[in-house]
């Protein structure tokens, strides 16, 4: 194998093939395509139910609260954190604070400021992903692989939105 867990970087092609191969267990074992953003609804619905017991009455919330498929995706997103933790430990590329890119493109100098920006970004990101019914994984990797017309539209809009927002930031 050309790459090992102690390497700091793999080629994007090795990583891309590995991610694409995850469609095999997703389809054969879980009967679904790779995705990430609906797990946020599962977590949000359970957190909301602590304060608002009526949330289960919303059909969309109820659809995301129980069952193997929903908890599989929550576990997969948690697994991503575990895999990245192990990988960064083994290669000695642990990160602290926030990326220096934010000071360069947005003038953000404090962790507090960056957390605010990231929180706003996460909010808009998931609101958009749920309106479009998928994210970079569900619409992007899985939707384009299934030749879904809506996914071609959503991915085009996603890149357009990202390019527009990044155009408002400083270029480095």
């Amino acid at each position: 194998m050309p790459y090992g867990l102690r390497d700091k970087a793999w080629s994007p092609y090795a990583a891309g093939v590995l991610i694409g191969l995850l469609q095999i267990p997703a389809f054969l074992l879980i009967n679904t395509a790779l995705g990430a953003s609906s797990s946020y609804v599962t977590v949000a619905a359970h957190l909301a139910s602590l304060a608002d017991p009526a949330v289960g009455g919303i059909r969309y919330a109820a659809q995301h609260m129980e069952g193997a498929k929903n908890w599989w995706q929550v576990a997969m997103v948690a697994g991503i954190a575990l895999g990245a933790f192990a990988s960064s430990r083994l290669s000695g590329t642990r990160r602290r604070g926030f990326s220096p890119i934010w000071t360069r493109v947005a003038g953000v100098r404090s962790l507090g400021g960056r957390v605010l920006m990231g929180t706003a970004g996460g909010f808009v990101m998931l609101l958009g992903a749920r309106i479009a019914d998928g994210c970079t994984s569900g619409h992007g990797i899985s939707g384009l692989a299934q030749l879904s017309v809506g996914s071609f539209i959503a991915v085009g809009a996603m890149f357009a939105g990202g390019i527009l927002a990044a155009a408002l930031m400083k270029r480095i």
């Binding site: 700091k8 970087a9 793999w10 990583a15 891309g16 590995l18 991610i19 469609q23 990430a36 946020y40 949000a44 949330v55 908890w71 929550v74 576990a75 997969m76 997103v77 991503i80 575990l82 895999g83 990245a84 933790f85 960064s88 990160r95 990326s99 220096p100 493109v105 960056r114 957390v115 920006m117 929180t119 706003a120 970004g121 996460g122 909010f123 808009v124 990101m125 998931l126 609101l127 958009g128 749920r130 309106i131 479009a132 994210c135 970079t136 384009l144 692989a145 299934q146 879904s148 017309v149 809506g150 539209i153 959503a154 809009a157 890149f159 939105g161 990202g162 527009l164 927002a165 270029r171």
Partner: protein
């Protein structure tokens, strides 16, 4: 499948996913912003490679009759509007919904805010969904697929798209080798801009300047 077994499968798949995201460096905000500012093409390369692999894998599994494809419904306004918001959010967050977890795992502290914001955004949508459903989340042509629209078998169109994406990747890699885009600290920062000779040390001005 039981929920417990699904969770074990999910954790294992996620661990592989997380290693791939961390090793490829695409979880770095510098890579995401770099892609959106056309300075860095690692994100596009991973994305198209994963799509291409998926096309080949699904062409085989569907051709053998082992699976049923599960595409999403086409809803024009929701796909465009949601996609635009999603993209803008990705630029502000420096992550997509999956790579947020990789950032947390790798140690970025701001990603905890992104995660919290994401859960709040999903929560707001959950309450808005019954209102939005009759407006933009219903109707449309249904689960439209390119191969069905063309009247061709899925495997044939899937393999044709796989060939197209692969050709684009070959051109992209020749034009801009991936090692050039890593940056000095593997975070996509300090990459020579387009048009500048990629063999110069990262972050240094051209001799002419």
């Amino acid at each position: 499948m039981s929920v417990l077994l699904a969770v074990v499968v999910g954790l294992l798949m996620g661990a592989v996913f997380g290693v791939a995201l961390e090793k490829s460096r695409v979880f770095e905000p510098g890579m995401i912003i770099g892609q959106f500012q056309f300075r860095n093409f690692i994100m596009l390369k991973i994305f198209l490679t994963a799509v291409t692999t998926g096309l080949v894998v699904l062409a085989a599994l569907d051709g053998l009759g082992l699976i049923r494809l599960a595409p999403k419904a086409t809803l024009f306004a929701a796909d465009v509007g949601g996609g635009l918001l999603l993209g803008a959010g990705i630029a502000l967050a420096g992550a997509c919904p999956g790579t947020v977890a990789a950032q947390i795992g790798a140690g970025y502290r701001d990603a905890l805010g992104t995660l919290a914001g994401g859960i709040a955004g999903a929560g707001l949508f959950m309450y808005l969904q019954p209102v939005l459903e009759p407006l933009i989340l219903s109707g449309g042509p249904g689960k439209l697929r390119v191969d069905v629209a063309l009247g061709a078998p899925y495997w044939a169109v899937a393999l044709a798209f796989a060939a197209l994406w692969m050709a684009i990747l070959v051109v992209l890699e020749r034009w801009r080798p991936w090692r050039t885009d890593l940056g000095a600290d593997h975070d996509g920062i300090g990459v020579p801009p387009l048009g500048r000779r990629p063999d110069l040390p990262a972050g240094r001005a051209t001799p002419a300047e």
